[in-house]
């Protein structure tokens, strides 16, 4: 049975390999079949495994690293947590592959695009199915690489190339922490398998567990775009929109949440680390939501929304409700990728991302409009839609642990509803602003959107079975809340969301123009000047320091040494060339002189 797992992991790798090696020989049509099919097989096998494999299974392939005391096997792990992730990843990835066939149809880099997308899916599945930290790290780096390649997919555009570099460098900072965390765990425990770490987490000293957990969490803040390393994600929107949907909304950026859930016992061992996770998550959620309020680029609004929602997931896991956090990850994967795909559909039709140039698209693109509305309702937490259930669980659990986190969470939920409907009103309602003719996207694009819309509604209905499915992990636990209290909390957040929607309607539709309240608006529009602060604090000192080193150390000392040795050789050669007169007999003379000298030396020794 566990052999099925190789069917989950390897088809996308094979697809990527074929596309990279033979891509030029394949017709566009066969690429359009091959690449989605590879991911489709992967999705079908994970579905099969989901039903056939009961509980836990692992597939041992080969020993990968065996150095000293370190023994790392290349094997795949299928348990409740990874099965949920694998299903979500392969399913969403499959739909987005199909959507991309339509979206990227005209692009000259069609084959390259699908090669990267397949490679990404493989890396993400590797990350998910890894049974130990080093293998997870390989997947972790693999998705980072694909993210870099796809953000900079249109690398002839300078902003895209720079955005790719930014994402890569910021992630390096996080990965540095992640690596240190792995090293620390190895010195502490001597084994890097998740099972082993989780089983022995309680034998660690709390301070050691805190250090390891926080180092790993630094990696998670990089990959999952949390404070302080979130700055790369908004710029990552330079990539093609399906990429934003797949990598920068649904799958890769949630890897951090997955990692924390995986190692939850380690985090639980150190209460401090868990608190840090929860607070970083909820502050990021609120922080990003405020920025999203005023952005005019449709994809940037969604990017900040993604940061904010991932913050929710971390908050959920951080307050100890792993199943709630993972459930939000699960539902978010559907509605957020749907939001991106629908936005992509609009961008595809209009050729612009600026919402100030949109408006009135409701009539021209009905399907896009409706699926977008469904997704927006889901993310805003309107009862009946998926986001409501998952967000409500997180908030309820947060209420038990910390009222402050709950309060911030509820306010953020209101902000979320506000900016989402601001987006809808600016894009789909009102009068057309600056576009002539728009059209609905082809079925190859609307199809996946409709499927995702379906899941954006129903995926939220199964929380209790989801919770039950994760239960065998052993550390899944929910606090009970009195029914009346729960209803009250629910009412508060839903009421706030509805109020926010009404406010958005009043400001952007009734009044017809937004607020421009001076200082705060400017602060938000400029994203709290975080990029500028980072620039002044890190980038400029680093660049100037490098310049100094290149000017003095490099030219003076390194070049001086190299050129000096060259000059020495030259001078030495000039000196020695005295003996190289070019006449045969002179050479013979020197040789004979050498023999005579050697003889004298030997005689001297002998006497």
């Amino acid at each position: 049975m566990s052999l099925l797992l190789s069917g989950v992991l390897f088809p996308p790798a094979l697809g990527a390999l074929i596309l990279i090696l033979l891509g030029r020989l394949l017709s566009k049509r066969s690429v359009s079949w091959l690449s989605p099919a590879a991911v489709g097989i992967s999705f079908l096998t994970s579905l099969l495994s989901f039903f056939l494999i009961k509980g836990k299974a692992s597939l041992y392939l080969f020993p990968w690293l065996s150095v000293g005391g370190l023994q790392v096997d290349f094997s795949l792990l299928w348990d409740p947590l990874s099965s949920i992730m694998a299903l979500t990843v392969s399913g969403v990835s499959f739909l987005i592959h199909i959507y991309s066939v339509g979206y990227m149809g005209e692009d000259p880099g069609y084959r390259r695009y699908f090669a990267y997308l397949n490679l990404f899916t493989f890396s993400m599945l590797l990350l998910v199915l890894a049974p130990n930290l080093p293998m997870m790290f390989v997947g972790w780096e693999g998705v980072g690489l694909c993210s870099y390649l796809l953000i900079g997919f249109w690398f002839e555009k300078e902003t895209a190339a720079n955005a790719g570099k930014k994402a890569f460098i910021v992630n390096r900072v996080g990965d540095f922490g992640f690596l240190l965390g792995i090293f620390l765990l190895f010195t502490l425990l001597g084994n890097l398998n998740f099972d082993y770490i989780n089983y022995h987490a309680n034998s660690l000293a709390p301070s050691a567990a805190t250090a390891a957990a926080l180092l790993l969490f630094l990696g998670a803040t990089g990959k999952s775009a949390q404070i302080p390393l979130y700055i790369w994600l908004p710029d990552a929107m330079e990539g093609p929109t399906p990429v934003s949907a797949l990598i920068h909304a649904a799958t890769m950026v949630t890897a951090g949440v997955y990692m924390v859930s995986r190692l939850f016992p380690l985090y639980a061992r150190s209460g401090l680390a868990l608190n840090v996770v929860a607070w970083v998550g909820i502050i990021t959620a609120a922080f990003a939501a405020t920025i999203a309020l005023v952005q005019n680029d449709i994809k940037r609004v969604l990017a900040y929304s993604t940061i904010s929602q991932i913050g929710y997931m971390f908050a959920g896991v951080g307050v100890g409700a792993v199943s709630a956090g993972m459930f939000h990850l699960f539902t978010h994967a559907f509605f957020k990728s749907l939001l991106f795909l629908a936005a992509g559909s609009v961008i595809h039709a209009l050729g612009t991302q600026d919402m100030r140039e949109m408006g009135g698209l409701r009539k021209k693109m009905p399907i896009t409009f409706w699926v977008f509305t469904i997704a927006a309702l889901a993310i805003s937490g309107i009862p009946g839609f998926a986001g409501f259930f998952s967000k409500d669980q997180i908030l309820a659990q947060a209420y038990i642990r910390s009222k402050a986190i709950w309060a911030i969470g509820v306010v953020t939920a209101g902000l979320t509803a506000f900016y989402m409907f601001r987006l809808i009103f600016m894009t789909f309602f009102g009068e057309p602003r600056g576009w002539k003719n728009a059209h609905e996207s082809p079925p190859v694009m609307t199809g996946p959107m409709l499927v995702l819309a379906f899941f954006s509604v129903v995926s939220g209905w199964f929380f209790s079975s989801f919770h039950g499915w994760l239960k065998p992990l052993g550390y899944i636990h929910l606090e009970e809340l009195p029914e009346s209290k729960e209803a009250l909390l629910m009412g508060a957040s839903v009421g706030l969301a509805l109020l926010a929607i009404g406010l958005a309607w009043w400001i952007y539709l009734k009044r017809g123009k937004g607020f421009h309240t001076g200082f705060i608006h400017k602060l938000l529009l400029n994203k709290y000047y975080v990029d500028e602060i980072y620039n002044a604090a890190f980038v400029i000192p680093y660049r100037e320091g490098s310049r100094l080193i290149s000017r003095y150390f490099d030219i003076g000392i390194i070049d001086g040494t190299v050129e000096g040795s060259g000059r020495l050789t030259l001078q030495g050669g000039r000196l020695m060339s005295f003996f190289q007169s070019g006449f045969l007999k002179d050479y013979a003379l020197w040789m004979a002189a050498g023999v005579v000298l050697a003889l004298f030396v030997m005689l001297g020794r002998a006497l």
């Binding site: 020695m576 060339s577 003996f579 190289q580 070019g582 045969l584 007999k585 013979a588 003379l589 004979a592």
Partner: protein
Amino acid sequence: MSSFSLFILAALLIAGGIAGFFLRKDLLTMLLSSEVALSGANLLLLVFASQASPTEAQAAVLAILTVAAAEVAVALAALAVVIREKGKATEDIVSEMKG
């Protein structure tokens, strides 16, 4: 035939070879002189080695012989080229090796 007389013979051969190398002006005999000196060295090697390890010494001389034969083949070819290019082969003709 004492070891001493063999030494004398070897010394004569080596000295003769070196003297030939310096006295003669044509490349051909200079080359031959070096062969003579080499033979002297071979003789010396055999004389010294016949006490300790005659088989090794003989093998070494045999190897030297082979190398020398190969060297002569290449050197003679080079010599022939020089003759073809310059018309004659005396040592003052070939003085382009200055470093």
